[in-house]
Amino acid sequence: MLGRKIAWHGLTLVATVLLGGFLCATLVRLAPGLDAEESALDPHLSSQSIHALREDRAEQHNVFRFYLRSLGRAIHGDLGTSISLRQPVSSLLHDRFPLTFRMVSLGLLMSWAAVMALALSVACVRSPAYDLLATVLAGLLLCVPAAVLALLSVLWNVPGALAIALIIFPRDYRYARNLLDKAYSLPHIISARAKGLTEVRILFWHVIPVVAPQLLALAGVSVSLAVGAAIPVEALCGLAGIGQLAWQAALARDLPLLTNITVLVTIVTLLANSSADVIGQVWRGQRA
């Protein structure tokens, strides 16, 4: 059962990447200006060379052929060359990925620590005033655009990871709070409380096992949110990561670079969601 689930996720991942890659290749192919070859304007080139360049371009007119050619190159590690930065896309991604990975991971950690601390304290304390305060705080953060939070982090000299944490926090908090609230209202937990079990025991023996699969799914989704938040944070904080690269590529209309980044990000988010799903399945299987 678990093996089938993993195989299904793997198949979905491959199919999504192939389909997403095809969509991206279509975008690149249809984008205005792809047929223009700057080197063809070089006065040193002979007419035969220019003709050869044009013939090479003409081969790319068919979207399917263009995609298959790009796919073949990608399998061999050649993701093409960035139009704006004139560097191989693979080396750009290789250089920028570690920073984004560190920042997003740290942001996710901080955000989840805050979400769990606040949601658990709200569920345990059960004070309407405290609940309202936490809800208002999360609600206010939810109403501020991610880019403004990034700007404020620059103003207050706060690390980018904290800005990412603040962007994800309100989105995750609402779900986590509702999940824990529901779990604490379950009859067997009310009865455990009535029997005098300690809060710690109730939490680890009765609440966490019930909400863990949903919280894992939420954690998977929050990876996608964090990666999305990396764009404004890196762009506005001047951090040389994947998000900043995507923003620069968008401004320069560098579609080969942008589409490769999008496919990479899709793989990361799909892997995170699939992992969360599989771990949740294992958890449920162990409890059954």
């Binding site: 655009p145 991610a146 700007l151 968008a250 401004l251 579609l255 988010t269």
Partner: protein
Amino acid sequence: MSFWRKFACAVLMLVFAVSLAATWLAPAGYAKQDRDATGAPPSREHWLGTDELGRDRFARLLYGTRISLLLAPAAALVSTLLAAVIGGLAGYLGGAWARTAMAVTDLFLSLPWLFLLITVRAMLPLNVSPTFSVLVTFLLLGLLGWTAAARVLCASASSLRNSDFVKQSRAAGIHGTRLFWIHVLPNLKPVLYAQFWISIPAFILSEANLGILGLGVAEPLPSWGSLLKELEGIVSLGAEPWKLLPLALLVVVVTSFQLVLSKSHEVAA
């Protein structure tokens, strides 16, 4: 209707009415430059001061609010209609249709929203007329924002397809589009309303994010995004507090939209 919902509705109506009255409240317009008073603090002539190009900040705020409050619901309408057609039909038809539609939906959902937006936005020319840019920005939001709603609508339509009254209608000889339009779609209304209301603040915030990143509405047209871009040059929050007014208004409007969403809407969502 609770007090807070009434209050939020009143705030939204007030903000919308004031933004509609921009022509009278700020007759100078959003693009007129006062070259003798560039980057000026608030005064009797310019209630919120002027920007670096000498344009009246109050006028730009009113016109920007008007644009966002008119076009975000329009984009929400586009995305809700797309979700109703794609998700609703997929759920109603079921089988291979539903699987294919949901596979496409999953593909879109697996792409982070901002990445998808900037990728598609980058495909389009950046140096377009301001009116075209504002339409493109909100149209993109509408065309790309249907996926989550489609998933909800597919599930709702799927449960309706197997409900007793739809089975009875089928048995009575009602089939195909007639059954969908007369019996299924009207029952999806609560979900559609909820998705529509949820989309508006999400689109307002997305436009603001795109605007701050320089990928939104083109100058000189104002929008919340372009107004908030001014915060890039701010040195401290206390030094020029009037520059924070667009942010405060945005927070008030988005909060009001969140409050308008009643418990029933949330359940339907």
